[in-house]
Amino acid sequence: MKQRDLELLSSYLDGQLSSSDAARLEARLRTDPEMRSVLQDLRSTRSLLRQLPMRKAPRNFTLTPQMVGKNPPLPRSYPVFRFAATLASILLFFTLGLNMLGRQMASPMPAYGMGGGGAPDTFTLESAPATEPPAAAAQAPAATEAPALQAPSAAMAPQPTATALVANSDRSMQTAVAKEPGTVNPAGSGQAEQPPQVLAQPQPQPAETKVVSPVWQWLLAGIALICLFIMALMRQLSVNRWRSKS
């Protein structure tokens, strides 16, 4: 039998033919025993299939929130803690970055030709004259010794203080003058010390240069950690409550 006739018979069986097509087919069926036989086969097969009872589902296939990936409802204050933790973390990293930047900017500079700098707080008494350029320092009463002291030879140290300063500078460029305020020449307003100061200028201590106090950093870290802990606790309690309900 042709495939086309088979389809016609099957559609006719299901009432899927138009009235005109059905009439034409019925006319053929009256004269074609093979077509009638095939139609009968199709009818009995369909009937047999329809007799098969439906099986009952072995269990309920209803879904739980976990199955579909639904998240448990969180308390309203959860976003607040999340925001606080995020903000604290950002500020903490920002302050760390600032301190690092400050340390880099305060890194040791070459001492030669530089009449100032160093630890500002250590030069409160002597900073004024110390920051003056050598040419200005030469105008002071003790300026007669200054040129000599400013001679290229750093070993020339007519002043005992200068010697001490030079000696100190040999030990530590960072602590020479800052820790020896007594080395200031009372007669000369520290001008005689300038050349040695130039050589023995205390070097800045990067470790002490902080833009933001460590207290703030600890505070921010603490806030971030506490907020994260509270968020984790909230989430766990919500999940437990949600699971107990479902």
């Binding site: 389809e7 199709l42 009995s44 579909v68």
Partner: protein
Amino acid sequence: MNEQALIQDAQKGDLDAFNTLILHYQDSVFNTALRILGDDDLAADVTQDAFISAFKSIGSFRGGSFKAWLMRTVTNACYDELRRQKRRPTTPLEPDTEEGEEMDSPRWLADPGMTPDQKAEADELEHAIQHCLNNLPLEFKTVVVMADLQGMDYTEVAVAARVPLGTIKSRLARARLRLRECLQGFSELLPSVFRLEEESTA
């Protein structure tokens, strides 16, 4: 059951509404998966996966026959399972009986009213039909399961199978003929069923 209202609620994320729909359709969906896959456990797993997938994609339902939409989901899940099996063939954990039959006897929806003889006959009929279904190409099997076992009309089957109406007619006709040829081999085992059929058509 107001199906449209339940569908709308489910589309808004109401899981309870969708579960109500599941309870209404789970037998049909399970039976479809069972007839396509031919295995109870696989059919149960695929049915569960199909419902999960259906809930997640229920936003894509744009009206029409919800049953056809569900059937499309479960047939896709069946195809995925069969493809997975082809890549990684598995052996069942529980051995069959000596006769090769399943360990658990099937429970029929008409269970309360069935006599033992009727139940035995139903079991034999199921075995015969499932055997013949298993011999059909997948696309033929899907069409005949939805049209003749689930009672869906041609349009619903076309929507579920995502093929044109003409293709449905062609596949259904050829599937029925093949099934008939196969089932004739079981006529000795199912004399009463076939006899009744012949008497009714005489």
